[in-house]
Symmetry: C2
Amino acid sequence: MHPFTYQNPTRVVFGRGVIGRVGNEAALLGSRILLVHGSRFLKERGWLEKILTPLRAAGLEVVEYGGVKPNPLLSHVREGIRMARKEEIAAIVAAGGGSVMDSAKAIAAGALVEHDVWQFFKGKKGIRAALPLICIPTLAGSGSEMNCGMVLTNEKTSQKFGIGNKALFPRVSLLDPEITCSVPPNHSAYGAVDAIVHLLEHYFTTTDQETPVQRRLAEGLIITVMESCEIILQNPHDYDARANIMWAAALALNGVASAGLGWVGFPMHMIEHSLSALYDIPHGAGLAAILPAWLRFQAETDPHKLAAFGKRIFNIQAENPETDARHTITAMKHWLEGLSCPTSLSELGIAETDIPAIAENALGLAKLWRLREYTQKVIEKILRSCE
Amino acid sequence: MHPFTYQNPTRVVFGRGVIGRVGNEAALLGSRILLVHGSRFLKERGWLEKILTPLRAAGLEVVEYGGVKPNPLLSHVREGIRMARKEEIAAIVAAGGGSVMDSAKAIAAGALVEHDVWQFFKGKKGIRAALPLICIPTLAGSGSEMNCGMVLTNEKTSQKFGIGNKALFPRVSLLDPEITCSVPPNHSAYGAVDAIVHLLEHYFTTTDQETPVQRRLAEGLIITVMESCEIILQNPHDYDARANIMWAAALALNGVASAGLGWVGFPMHMIEHSLSALYDIPHGAGLAAILPAWLRFQAETDPHKLAAFGKRIFNIQAENPETDARHTITAMKHWLEGLSCPTSLSELGIAETDIPAIAENALGLAKLWRLREYTQKVIEKILRSCE
């Protein structure tokens, strides 16, 4: 077990109807609030009013900033920063999925500095402070509501980069599983895949031989996310399944699951970020397409670990490590197919001839994220195996 | 899944040698430090110097306050409060087991009020603030290093009471598994039993039908604590086993494992506190003696849950719930015996004729802890079954 430092200051308020508390919570942070959201989902489902009403009832000035897209864009964040400054915003409320929460984090950090916000993502400038943030996640998956990471796409350079800084932890996150009940099946599944991949990236890239406490934690969360997702696709309004997956997704990337594992990498996220940056596909869909191929790559270097994982998650009966690893990959692929997730590049409409360009794009992040073994050749090989 | 609020501000610094950082950490909190400890263990093993040296190197004035006993005493805490005031202490460093950390918490809260510290424990006064605290646990078990609870014995009234308040979260806890390598086998086992019972109290007293994410989290932690404890008894210096059990014990009672379970009770702790208060036995030894009997009591009302637990933890093969529950209790008893823990009152030297007095003592806590179904009769029945 590796040395670690763990601290997570975010206060989570969890349960049916907790969004009604947003007024009182925001009032503790300031009187001028920027409400960042993605517009359509919140408005159509009536949630926007359920957030605005308590904010106004608490006597707060609310400036709305909608229109965040999946794979959130740098240009939109820059505009949000200008607005936050002009309106002398004291605190931000983010209501949406990972894209909305990450955009809000970028605005929160960018509003306090003179330089351009993309400098943070390139690693040229460090984050020292951010406006206080309240998150209201509308989808279980990204875990952004309980961590200090953010991901943003620079549409001019086609770079989707992610960074973290402790100033970005939300002050409070209001987790209301009921909001997620109206998320459509495909996006519910993409969220589940995102959460599972966060755990798998830890699980397989840790440099630790064996940390049973963390291994079992990850396995318990993975099984819960899978099981809850299956229930949700049968019955989207199953509150308990929505609640279980929501808490599991938060725990998957809030630092608890990675403590003691030493350095962990995010190679699948690295490759997927290139797909999202170049083709603007949903993040979870891109991850699903990469996952079986990446597991295949993983099996080449360490079939034992994958076989052991398959035994614990899919109850694969032991034959030999190579066969068990193969069965594990097949089981994972079948599970993804059962959720109607894409499991190949062609299902995403991406041609094989594009692979070198995707790999080249991913290399930028490989350097930033210290994934040195992921050369152009290796990334191309994994992408060619996405079939 | 029940609604919940979760926040844990404690920063955990984990790994070999982290106690060397105590000087820098304490210097952030103030210049006059009260070092609370139990004296013998720290001194004999040479750890006291390894704590004093960095504290002094950081230019801090250190006032030592040793002599904390297992089942820490109100009189000793009161003396510590007097000392903290007289010496104008700015922050406390607690180096020891649960008793030391809990004593330090009581001193930290008591030093800031005019009234007697026991008023907090009786629920007559609320805690509003406490001196900042750094914990250096020397034993995995209590979880006090990452929670806001504390337990104290009033030796005049023979009451061992426990309370919690968010002001009591340690600012920082330095978890160095190596320190725990010199804990003798019996106390290592008692710590493991304490951690497991924390999880079992959640597991069986939750009012929730089923919260898979939390159930799997608890099961993973329980198995890890059991497995690590077995390794430790074979090889006390196995760093990885010490590290795994240390982190598992912290997670067992830091709020993560109980989130979403609704109200959870601590009936085994309630009964054990009476044993400790009346006979001054080690807390974990008392819990071990009660555990099989309490599981028997549990099986009467819900054999299904105990049977399912037995299947997952001890791999009990399904016959019928009643039989499986019985096998689970036997398996748990055998496991405790394998650690040389007492599993009966007689092994603790407690006569059956004392049972009514023990039960009467426990009733005081039953009221404070809202364990209404634990009447004199019920507690006596459980105690008579401790054999």
